[in-house]
């Protein structure tokens, strides 16, 4: 078991209740997307996964450690957290220092730090930016630096808040590929995203949230083709799903639960026969 959320409530000091009786189990090695409208409580939920926020009520267990009793530093070795806004985690003068900061603080051996850094910068296409200041970089580049500085710690659980936001097509594909690889290496991945097209192609388990509650939890294919859930979470169906619905409007035998391009092609060719 990786993460267990039990009857979690969270109320901000301002009095706003952001989470309302959330229960959720994330197994080791799973790949989960948490989806929902702005303000649904997604980010508040994942901030509990590394102890940044402590439950107002209920419990969050990470590898059987209760986050109430553990420090964020302790959790940082297990849980890597990549913020939505990279400026919230970048503060050093060069990209290289930024990436080395975590492992240096944990006294990893210098050679290993160098080796791990080489790996992530190659992976994230940051090699020729190592000497630059993070603040001279574009939004998309800064986001990759923030991701690199977390990945270099080799966390067992990786939490990403809107990893594809502001990324161009190539970086998006790289991120999708990288997340898949990290997941195949056995890491647990939890990400928050609005990007239905990304989720349609990557097909993680989807947890849908509205107003601080989980309203659906299932396969991407089931959640993203459910009109009621989409409406409640203010998500739009993937383009391919919308096309399937439009076709099914006129040809009732056409399946409505189609989310990927390849599924759509198969269905179209079958339908043609």
């Amino acid at each position: 078991m990786s993460i267990t959320v039990k009857n979690l409530d969270y109320t901000y000091p301002s009095g706003v209740t952001a989470l309302n009786n959330v229960s959720l189990k994330i197994n080791k090695g799973e790949y989960i997307a948490i989806m929902g409208a702005n303000g649904a409580g997604k980010t508040t939920l994942i901030k509990h996964f590394n102890g940044l926020l402590k439950p107002t009520k209920g419990h969050v267990l990470v590898n059987d450690i209760d986050t109430i009793t553990s420090s964020v530093a302790e959790m940082a070795k297990i849980v890597g957290f990549v913020f939505q806004n990279p400026d919230h985690q970048l503060f050093l003068t060069t990209v290289e220092e930024e990436i080395k900061f975590g492992p240096t603080n944990f006294d990893f051996p210098e050679e290993q730090i160098q080796e791990d850094m080489e790996k992530v910068v190659t992976f994230l296409n940051l090699k020729n930016l190592l000497k630059r200041s993070p603040f001279s970089l574009s939004e998309g580049e800064r986001k990759r630096v923030a991701l690199a500085s977390v990945l270099v710690m080799n966390p067992e659980i990786l939490i990403l808040d809107e990893p594809t936001m502001g990324q161009d097509a190539i970086q998006k594909r790289n991120i999708a590929k990288m997340i898949n690889e990290l997941n195949q290496q056995g890491r647990t991945i939890t990400l928050v995203t609005h990007d239905v097209e990304f989720v349609a192609e990557c097909q993680p388990r989807v947890v849908a949230m509205t107003e601080g509650r989980v309203i659906a939890d299932g396969m991407a294919k089931d959640v993203l083709t459910n009109l009621e859930i989409l409406a409640k979470t203010k998500l739009r169906p993937p383009q391919i799903t919308a096309l399937a619905w439009e076709i099914a409007n006129q040809e009732q035998s056409f399946p409505k639960d189609v989310i990927t391009i390849s599924e759509m092609k198969t269905n179209l060719l079958e339908f043609r026969r």
Partner: protein, 291 residues
Amino acid sequence: MENIIQIRNLKFSYRPSRQPAIREIDLDIRKGEYIAIAGLSGCGKSTFCRCLNGLIPHFYRSGVMKGSVTVDGLDTRELPLYEITQKVGMVFQDPESQLMALTVERDIAFGPENLGLPREEIRARVEEALELVKIAHLRERAPHELSGGEQQRVAIASVLALQPKILVLDEPTANLDPAGAVDVLNIIENLQVQKKITVIIVEHRLELALQSATRLLIMHDGTLVFDDKPEKLIAKDIIPAEAYGVQMPSLIQLFTQLMDEGHSFSQIPFNIPLAASIILSELGSARSTSE
């Protein structure tokens, strides 16, 4: 039709020693066009936007600008920034960076107040802007309490109160959820249709932007590598488009893949209803010819 923007031999570096962010751009934009700009991160899109609204050269003074940008017949180098902002309204990715007043209404009034306009005129402009972006019901609210999509609409309204002829939007939907993004893009389309405002929008979500844009620019490494109707993008090879950071909407990918596999279609659709009707009529007719 009249060119509202003329760009000649534009080059720009943020510092004399730095690589140029804009290497060479020549471009004419006609009044009332709706232009989408795409490209890899770091390709110069945001720099280009700053050239349009005069932040370059007036604000980024340590930079080196060559060539000229003419907006509504006037050279931006010779026009003070406050005059350019009345011609070119700029909306950024993060609406919070643009909002500062305690109520929505005050925020929208800020620009016209600073121009020293008469009270009645300010009031009329605020009302019009509130109506145009459909946020009259939010007038008394504090901008920081609103959702991202609402905040972005307030930011657009604040810019509209200066009655610009051109609206430049730098990834205005990047921080919004899908419903908020659609809201904002619908509002923008409306402005272009109703008010004949020229729209220039940097947008990664082509599946949304291409429903309204009549012209697509792709930037790469500080130059324009594509400038044509969006449909033409498909006629060219799909792979170079992606190398330039342009993510083909999955609808377009579907059609391109079907065409690669030997199907032919009368056109490539950019919206769902058209796509469905093309599939139903043309994949169907393929059935009758192949049998």
